[in-house]
Symmetry: C2
Subunit: 436 residues, 2 copies
């Protein structure tokens, strides 16, 4: 990217030669009037491609600045799925205006693609795919692709349809090339191609594409007719977004889709305050536990010394278990059916962790408060680590079982639960061992 004080010459060279991704990244940092000027100066089809790489917020902002014809031209040249994403991001009156400015074909395509529910296969598919018929020869098929290729998102895999547009096979470009020119498509196609339906969850789509290493995945309607394909790069974007959401959730941030640099301060405030405030009420239970044992605390004030250490350790062990589980469930490394095995195993690991932590903390207990306090602190440490770990390991499974997102088992939530349990264990043990 050119530096801020680059000469006009340097900028011109960059604009002409840079990859559209890099060009878009640079435009996103410019003031909007300059970005608009640069976009309009680009040659087609570089213009539409660069525009597509901008974030939807920036695309929408620029769409509002561009002339109606300028916008319609860019939108017409965008890929079908990118076009719909922008359309869905505009206000209703802007959508209507844009539709009026487009040719019938694009208009109908947008109308169709924009009707599907968010986060489904229908919402992320594109209509730019190549189709063949069983009766074509490999040679004829290659001719078809040669004609249509520049407009299609991928021709590495083509789809074979019957007269009713039902999906009956797929062929890889490699196979067309390897086949003799007279070989019929019917002979070389895969007659049982993997496909998803319009309402398949986008995360499931992304997982299939990654698992089976697919170039694209066809989408069929309830009659088995091909209605779109999902390309690998779009599936990867979905996967990346879902992973970012998991990071946000395990840190008790309500998911947001903008990049952290583009998200406004008030957006970030709102996404963060909800759980922070909610957990206050969880912590009041810890406070109530402490209030209940005030006599014990006054009698043995040295106990307070160990309070942050004990409750944090339980929370930390729990966060470890929860985060490992959340990730394993997201990648498919573990499934709901594994819960019994994994929790039993966690019990062994947590006992070992708890015993080690008890050993570490016992000499400190001895030094600070004598043998009785050391006993209370060590026992509590052992128990909070075990309880924290088990809660951390179980909660993602439980949420998943209830069809909620396991990533809601965030580190702060586990910590708060462990705190309450930890306070109760600590002061109960103290009261019964040290006397009230």
């Amino acid at each position: 990217m050119p530096p801020e004080d680059a000469s006009n010459e340097t900028i011109r060279h960059f604009v002409q030669t840079a990859h559209a991704v890099d060009l878009a990244a640079w435009l996103a940092e410019l003031p909007q009037d300059l970005a608009q000027e640069q976009i309009l100066a680009l040659a087609q089809p570089r213009q539409a491609e660069t525009f597509s790489y901008l974030s939807l917020d920036v695309q929408a902002a620029l769409a509002r600045r561009l002339g109606r014809r300028e916008l319609a031209e860019i939108v017409t040249r965008m890929e079908a799925d990118d076009r719909v994403d922008l359309f869905n991001h505009l206000k209703p009156e802007e959508q209507q205006r844009l539709l009026r400015d487009l040719a019938q074909e694009e208009r109908e395509d947008i109308r169709r693609l924009s009707t599907y529910a968010e986060e489904t296969a229908g919402a992320i598919m594109t209509s730019d795919y190549a189709t063949l018929a069983t009766s074509m020869s490999a040679h004829e098929a290659i001719e078809v692709l040669r004609r249509e290729a520049p407009e299609k998102e991928t021709i590495y895999r083509s789809y074979v349809l019957d007269a009713d547009r039902r999906l009956i096979g797929s062929v890889r470009l490699v196979e067309l090339i390897l086949a003799g020119t007279d070989t019929l498509i019917a002979e070389i196609m895969d007659p049982d191609p993997m496909a998803v339906t319009l309402d398949t969850d986008q995360e499931e789509v992304a997982r299939l594409i990654a698992r089976y290493d697919l170039t694209a995945l066809p989408v069929i309607d309830e009659h088995g007719r091909l209605v779109g394909i999902i390309t690998r790069d779009d599936a990867e974007d979905v996967m990346q977004r879902e992973t970012t959401e998991d990071f946000q959730k395990i840190a008790t941030v309500i998911p947001f889709s903008q990049s952290i640099r583009e998200a406004g301060k008030s957006v970030l405030y709102k996404k963060r305050i909800f759980w922070l405030a909610l957990l206050v009420f969880g912590n009041l239970f810890s406070g109530a536990g402490i209030a209940f044992f005030e006599e014990t605390i006054l009698a043995y004030v040295a106990l307070v010394f160990f309070l942050p250490l004990l409750i944090d350790s339980g929370g930390n062990a729990g966060s470890q278990a929860a985060t490992l589980m959340v990730r394993a469930l997201a990648t498919g490394d573990a499934a709901l059916k594994d819960w019994r095995d994994l929790i039993l195993r966690e019990l062994t690991i947590a006992t070992a962790l708890g015993a080690t932590m008890a050993l570490i903390v016992s000499p400190i207990g001895l030094l600070r408060g004598g043998s009785d306090i050391a006993l209370v602190v060590s026992l509590t440490m052992m128990l909070v680590v075990i309880v924290g770990s088990l809660v951390g390991m179980s909660l993602p499974f439980l949420l998943s079982r209830l069809r909620l997102d396991p990533a809601t088992a965030s580190a702060p939530l586990i910590t708060t639960i462990s705190d309450v349990v930890g306070v109760l264990i600590y002061f109960s043990l103290a009261t019964s061992i040290l006397g009230p």
Copy 2:
């Protein structure tokens, strides 16, 4: 996958028709003697493909059970990069035995590919790529690909080399098909293909492939000679592994590569105890702070009620900021150079969060301890949320600056730091407002 009590017929059907990925997943769950039997019964090349999809631990275990000739046959048919991964996972004496059993070509290929440092482009590249010369026509080029295709990992992009094997261009299969048959490769190739060197970090490779949506990325040596390519699916595996590592790190688990179901109990224990134990010493500072203010605590024991709430809130706000930053740095949403902007913005957001939290907690303070305690608690809440957030936002930048992994700024680490600061703020304010 067939159920555990499936009939032989069902199993036979599954083994014959399932995708190699699914077959491998099923084999991994079988006892090793049965898995070995099933693997040996498979036809080539399905055998090698299925074997490649097993985890390296399972591959190595099976390799030890198979006969020398059986193993050599499978290994010969594996893709070059998978072959080397298995080789690197074997014990030295097993490596020597395997090398002796292979033909010269595979032996040399393994020797060459296994020499590169872990986590570099050299370590994840494959030698199965197609090459062309500038003087070939598009027609000749397609003939070359037709001959070589079945053995190459991808022919969607071929690489153009000069007489010294220096990389001077690349051509996409689509372009070969679109070009007239007599067009020379020199005319249609991209004369400036993106490439990385042998020592490029694998994460950088994965980021380039994702950013520029590449099918494969060539690797060149110090003389500009092509030595391998990295395919998209391998880059995605790298990305997925690195993301899993980030999850592990932000939960203070030392990264491990096995799936959570395959990792042994003692492995998990070792990966988790390190930070748990280390943070004990961090928490001793909180304890020391508390010990220092023991007089104040004895005079106002109601203060202990709010202790878990206050230190947790600072830790939670800090974990939010840290986790958002770690992810943004990993995806490239934010870079080191953005630190000043982002930290200034965080100051505003954290002040708003702190003020809200102070408002929420003040009536509780009033109820539990009167107006003075309410003042101390509210002020402390405000400050710990601000300090926690700023530490959480800055630490990933600082680590990144020091060329350490920003993901080391784990939630538990931030919580421990916030705790120490929180204890000191809380009791200092209490002592000065309530009197010692």
